[in-house]
Symmetry: C2
Subunit: 151 residues, 2 copies
DNA sequence: ATTAAAGATGCATTATGGATGTAGGTTATG
DNA sequence: CATAACCTACATCCATAATGCATCTTTAAT
């Protein structure tokens, strides 16, 4: 019962982008795009794994990815538009938390448990739905400092 | 992100005991104790795995186990006293749902995410705390029938 | 055009931990 | 003492997450 690192990595990437982009002055020099390598250097992660998460975030339209030289990626929406429940549900996959088929459980027709757990799961996500990427950027300054020094 | 089968097995065992004991007339013939084999026959599970769960439930004082010939186990409390949050927390282990150390995450000092997820987790368990084993026995008759035929 | 730098993609491999198996020990009944 | 039950400590298997590797495609700079 634990979130996958995959999911957390996705959130780290979003936090990284949010902190960085929020700090950029509004002049035309938007700075370089963030690259997979930047994330890996900062958090000391596997390039291949982050690769897949970035790709996934791109397919979810949470970030915009650009191929080719000087490519990279950036947030595709305002941080306030990125809800945590959506991110976690998508990256984690939202299978039921309790598996009654495969193999089939004989108690299923008379079981109250699966419903209770399923509703509890929804409460968890409902709570997450109150937060957006913005809420993860409360300490943006400190994040920026960490990210810049942890290269 | 899924409960362990181990945890579900524990709940099945409790449901089995609850359904069976609730049906017993109050005369002295309490019937035989339930044995690990009975559980395995009913749910088609591994004896070894159920063995461990039963032992665990015993250590938690949710069931009383008796060794030796004619041994077995039975509920140690009334079904209404067995709260689901307790059972699941204990069987599942209540580690944090997101692991920030091991390996250490540089964002930790400025991260808001772990707290949010931790509070969501508590909401999940708070919800489960509203229910007891009794709530899983709503369809006791049907459960009994299933358990008796599924030998 | 050429080259280099970036993500995209598919497959292989490793690591982790849950699930299961084996063997024997301990306890209680009769 | 023999048997039937749970107890305990391992060992092994297996599913899947995590990671690695190779290659392709796209794009920008030169
Ligand atoms: S006991 Fe209930 S929740 Fe558990 S597997 Fe069977 S049907 Fe599903
Ligand atoms: S990003 Fe936040 S939640 Fe995720 S590991 Fe780092 S500190 Fe923990």
């Amino acid at each position: 019962m634990q979130l996958k690192k995959y999911t957390d990595y996705g959130l780290r990437i979003l936090m990284y982008l949010g902190a960085k982009e929020g700090a950029q002055t509004t002049d035309k020099e938007q700075g370089q795009l963030t690259r997979i390598r930047d994330i890996c250097d900062t958090f000391d992660l596997s390039v291949n794994h982050v690769n897949k998460v970035v790709h996934h975030l791109g397919r979810l339209n949470l970030i915009e990815t650009r191929r080719g030289k000087n490519g990279g990626f950036l947030l595709a929406k305002a941080p306030g538009e990125i809800r945590l429940d959506f991110v976690i549900r998508q990256l984690e996959g939202d299978e039921p938390w309790i598996e009654c088929h495969n193999p089939y459980c004989v108690a299923l027709p008379a079981c109250e448990l699966n419903g209770i757990v399923a509703r509890g799961k929804e409460l968890f996500y409902d709570y997450l739905a109150q937060f957006t990427l913005n809420d993860l950027l409360k300490k943006q300054g400190q994040l920026l400092q960490i990210f810049s020094t942890a290269s």
